[in-house]
């Protein structure tokens, strides 16, 4: 049997020529199309911006402590503040909704009365407010010990004005929580 014969064929390159002038025009066309597309998409919007000057007011609170042996023992009094909520809570977990409430600094202990003032409060209604006691280390260990009761607990903060509210606190007869539903 005759031995196999191997041939090698030459390689031929194929080139696709493009007329230089038409390519240059297309080059510019591509560039300008891209620029116009980008400008059209950007628009005049500048994105996020500072909020409009907030309409704010002040809450001024008068607190009276009532009842004999009023104050709880120290191991159950971890914090005490005035809290105003823009909603009516249904669970202690609602205390996480920090964006929907304002609160004062820590109140004084073992006094017969106290005052609190909260400034730069965004105007609007508050539906449930009062003095809250933190009775444990858990972040949810809070309970109301006195509520704003006038006008069913609802008051309004108006721009540039001070709203006065009163709270009577009795640690031994705190209001029920969660509040009864209407």
């Amino acid at each position: 049997m005759a031995p196999a014969v191997t041939k090698r064929l030459s390689i031929r390159r194929v080139s696709a020529g493009v007329p230089e002038m038409s390519g240059l025009r297309l080059h510019w066309s591509i560039t300008w199309i891209a620029a116009v597309l980008i400008l059209l998409c950007t628009g005049c919007d500048s994105g996020l911006e500072p909020p409009a000057e907030a309409q704010v007011g002040v809450i001024d609170v008068q607190i009276t402590y009532e009842g004999d042996s009023t104050w709880p023992p120290p191991d159950s009094l971890h914090d005490l503040r005035f809290v105003a909520m823009r909603f009516v809570p249904t669970d202690t977990a609602d205390f996480l909704q920090l964006n929907r409430m304002v609160f004062s600094g820590r109140l004084r202990y073992n006094v017969a009365s106290d005052t609190a003032r909260i400034s730069d409060v965004a105007a609007g209604p508050f539906l449930y407010s009062g003095v809250a006691q933190k009775f444990g280390t858990d972040v949810f260990a809070w309970r109301p010990v006195g509520l704003v009761e006038s006008d069913d607990g609802v008051f309004f903060v108006r721009p540039g004005e001070t709203t006065h509210v009163e709270v009577r606190v009795d640690f031994h007869d705190p209001p029920p929580f969660p509040p009864p539903q209407p």
Binding site: M1, A4, K7, H27, T31, A34, L48, P51, Q97
Partner: protein
């Protein structure tokens, strides 16, 4: 032929017998009978003659294999000399042909003698023909050099099928990022490079591929990161370490859009990102890249006034030096050192990053090759967790739960990350390729005190991911490849935030299989599956089988259609299962978390239309993905705490269109990518949170008289839903707008020095990529690069 001659002789003898018989008829009946016998013999002979003739003609047909054939063999390569696998080489007007192998060789046997026209064709390349003359028993060598007709289609990608394939023949949506794109955009970290990929959206430091991820505080990435094929997710949170990638040594980044668990296992729920580093050059080279710039102060006085440095530009700078050289005929090394400082555009947002990487490649016996990639990254960062509201976004916020010292929105850490990735590759004959990979990835996180000193490791987090895999690619023919593999990985982490003390381990084993057939010209079908088993805790194992099926068909040289089905899954990270803390928010563990799963369908079309001589690529895809048991952090009233829970059944469907137009002389390029997403939370029947419906990327480059111009535009529509538990206690966390970011650049080469000026966020547009953190405003960067 011999039979034919013998039959003819028999016929002639019969004729003579007939004559003799006639002459003997007068001698009596026995003579007559004898004559009749002769006549019969002649008739039989004539019948035999006809049959023999037909048989001879049949035997002499082209399909005959009686030594009248030859062989055509050779190689197929591109214009740079690189072999091209998967190219169809066929004989016109016949069913004979072959597909080129991984090394570019092909062979067609049993080619009949004569003149033939053979054609080499592949999507994205010029169809090339040759005419050959075959003689009996001859081997003819024909080598093809194919010219690309579209840049994108000529790319080789590995992620879609765990071995190199041309992009056009892959039945999946794969995007690639080239070193030129990384360098031209000054992408110094991985997330910088991924922002410009169509269908990809960054939610802070979380990658969102086609809406698969949303935002989950970088705990549990739904996109798997590979570095040279090895998983690179942080062992504690399964998040992506964006700063632990040597970007200047990247050869290619591949983004596989869609579930990839059938080949890569857990973590590839929404996609796979494979960062492939280079080997070494032909000659020694040293590369030096330097950049410096600053963030422009924000234009709103109301914001600037709340930060003492608000009126000053905040600086950033960096340098990377890399040296690469061959060490022998098949060996080489590169080393890369980089340092980066970023003062940040926010208060308490400073970062310092030091990175050292090296890779050595050694040619061993035969075709065997050993590669070892190792690196160390050290990073100090002031972690800005959330802002102080839209009225004061430059300062960290506070969460005050009624304690004197509230919880700050910043967290400072020192992070050390170490990686070691050895791999061994060997070709056993021309049909079998063996790959073995090992990996070690460790992380140490230490909180910083008020003076910036690291606290003890016991107050932080440590984690280690280690393991290996073995893969065999068997190609018994040019049209079939069978891939088999096995993996074993362990994942241990320890943290002061975990409920359980000591190391928590989550080992896994798995096996994968894939069968690829391309016997019919233009058609490639692949089917496979992967089985994974994870040990969640002592005595408890979870397992998952992830199948895949895909097909692609080249309608002609300029159009290919594809279809794919795949399933994916993600096992909850150690942090999601075991985190327990009351430091900032009440967090409780959930050790019974179940894996997230997904199922995805996709059809697509890739075309290379000729447009007035320009090089064009258009790709369109429609996809539908279903998700089950998606894990979300949410407040659980019964626990009085936040917890990671299996919450959501979701569906994400959409379409994606990408296109590239390139001038033949590459003086200008236009890229476009648009993605539409319909992302739905089926549990609550509402839009999925933090998913944009419309994503658009536009990119353009042009060169005029040596001056390089470039522009990139990114758009993402405002998510349809932005509410979350996070927004109940972080001020203005629900404030999100559409993203419109324009980046511009201009550059020129002066001798060996490349200089580029970048104007990032040129329109000074203010937005957030993730809730409650303002994204960078306009900033300017000068970039200088040289190659020695």
């Amino acid at each position: 032929m011999y039979a034919f001659i013998m039959i003819q002789r028999y016929v002639n003898r019969g004729r003579r017998d007939v004559n003799r018989g006639q002459q003997e008829v007068n001698r009596g009946q026995r003579v007559v009978i004898r004559g009749q016998r002769v006549v019969n013999r002649a008739a039989f002979a004539r019948i035999c003659l006809v049959v023999a003739g037909c048989t001879t003609l049949a035997l002499l047909s082209p399909s005959a294999s009686f030594g009248q054939t030859g062989v055509i063999a050779g190689t197929v390569s591109d214009t740079s000399g690189a072999p091209l696998p998967g190219v169809n080489v066929a004989i016109l007007e016949s069913s004979r042909g072959a597909a080129s192998r991984a090394d570019g060789t092909y062979r067609i046997d049993d080619v009949p003698v004569g003149r033939h026209t053979i054609v080499a064709s592949a999507v994205g390349f010029e169809r090339t023909t040759r005419t050959v003359e075959i003689s009996e028993g001859e081997d003819v060598r024909v080598d093809f050099v194919l010219r690309e007709i579209a840049i994108q289609s000529g790319e080789l990608v590995v992620t879609a099928s765990r071995r190199e394939r041309l992009t056009g023949g892959v039945a999946a949506s794969v995007s690639t990022v080239t070193p030129e794109q990384i360098s031209s955009r000054n992408a110094v970290a991985l997330d910088d490079a991924l922002r410009y990929v169509s269908g990809v959206q960054m939610a802070g430091n979380q990658i969102n591929v086609r809406g698969s991820s949303g935002f989950s505080y970088n705990t549990g990435s739904r996109v798997l990161l590979l570095l040279d094929g090895s998983p690179m997710l942080r062992p504690d949170v399964n998040g992506i370490p964006y700063d632990a990638i040597p970007m200047s040594q990247v050869r290619r980044i591949e983004v596989l859009k869609g579930p990839g668990s059938a080949l890569y296992g857990g973590g590839a729920l929404g996609g796979v990102i494979n960062v492939i580093t280079r080997d070494y050059p032909d000659r020694p080279e040293t590369a030096v890249d330097v950049f410096g710039g600053a963030y422009q102060p924000v234009r709103y006085e109301a914001w600037r006034s709340r930060w003492e440095d608000g009126d000053r530009p905040q600086p950033m700078a960096g340098i990377s030096v890399g040296h690469a050289r061959p060490l022998g005929k098949r060996s080489g090394v590169w080393t890369h050192v980089a340092y980066r400082y970023d003062a940040g555009h926010l208060r308490l947002d400073t970062r310092r990053n030091l990175q050292v990487f090296s890779k050595i490649t050694a040619g061993l016996f035969g075709d065997a090759r050993l590669r070892v990639l190792g690196g160390w990254t050290r990073r100090t960062s002031d972690n800005f967790l959330f802002w102080n509201g839209l009225e004061d976004p430059l300062n960290p916020g506070r969460i005050d739960f009624g304690r004197e010292a509230g919880s700050s929105g910043s967290d400072d850490n020192l992070i050390n990350e170490l990686s070691l990735l050895p791999s061994y590759v060997d070709a056993v004959g021309s049909e079998l390729l063996i790959t073995a990979r090992g990996r070690i990835f460790g992380v140490i996180i230490q909180p910083l005190d008020e003076e910036g000193n690291p606290r003890p490791i016991s107050r932080g987090t440590t984690g280690l991911r280690y393991g290996g895999e073995l893969q065999a690619d068997y190609s018994p023919s040019s049209s079939r490849t069978i891939t088999l593999g096995a993996i074993a990985d362990a994942n241990a982490a320890s943290s002061s935030f975990f409920e359980e003390a000591g190391d928590i381990s989550q080992p896994e084993i798995g096996g994968f299989f894939q069968w690829e057939e391309s016997g019919i010209p233009g058609l490639t079908v692949a089917a496979g599956a992967r089985f994974d088993a994870y040990r969640i805790r002592a005595g408890q194992v979870t397992s998952k089988l992830s199948p895949k099926l895909s097909a692609s068909y080249a309608l002609n040289d300029r159009m290919i259609v594809r279809g794919a089905f795949a399933e994916g899954f993600r096992v909850p990270s150690v942090l999601e299962r075991f985190v327990s803390s009351t430091t900032y928010l009440p967090l409780v563990s959930n050790i019974d978390l179940r894996p997230e799963t997904s199922r995805s369908y996709e059809v697509g079309l890739r075309a290379f239309p000729l447009l007035s001589g320009l090089s064009t690529t258009v790709d369109g895809a429609a996809f539908w993905s279903d998700y089950w048991e998606l894990i979300e952090p949410t407040f659980v009233p019964a626990e009085r705490a936040f917890q990671f829970v299996n919450l959501t059944r979701a569906r994400i469907r959409g379409v994606e269109i990408t296109g590239t137009i390139t001038h033949p002389n590459e003086r200008s390029t236009l890229q476009l990518g648009y993605t539409y997403l319909d992302a739905r939370d089926l549990t609550m029947d509402r839009p999925l949170v933090f998913r944009s419906s419309h994503l658009l990327q536009l990119g353009a480059t042009a060169t005029f008289s040596g001056v390089r111009l470039g522009a990139d535009f990114r758009y993402a529509s405002r998510p349809d839903r932005v509410d979350s538990d996070f927004a109940t206690f972080v001020k203005d966390a629900e404030k999100m707008v559409a993203i419109r970011v324009l980046d511009l650049r201009i550059g020129r080469t002066f001798g060996r020095l490349d200089a580029t000026i970048h104007l990032k966020n040129a329109l000074d547009y203010y937005y957030v990529e993730r809730p409650a953190i303002l994204a960078p405003p306009r900033h300017v960067i000068l970039q200088l690069s040289t190659r020695l």
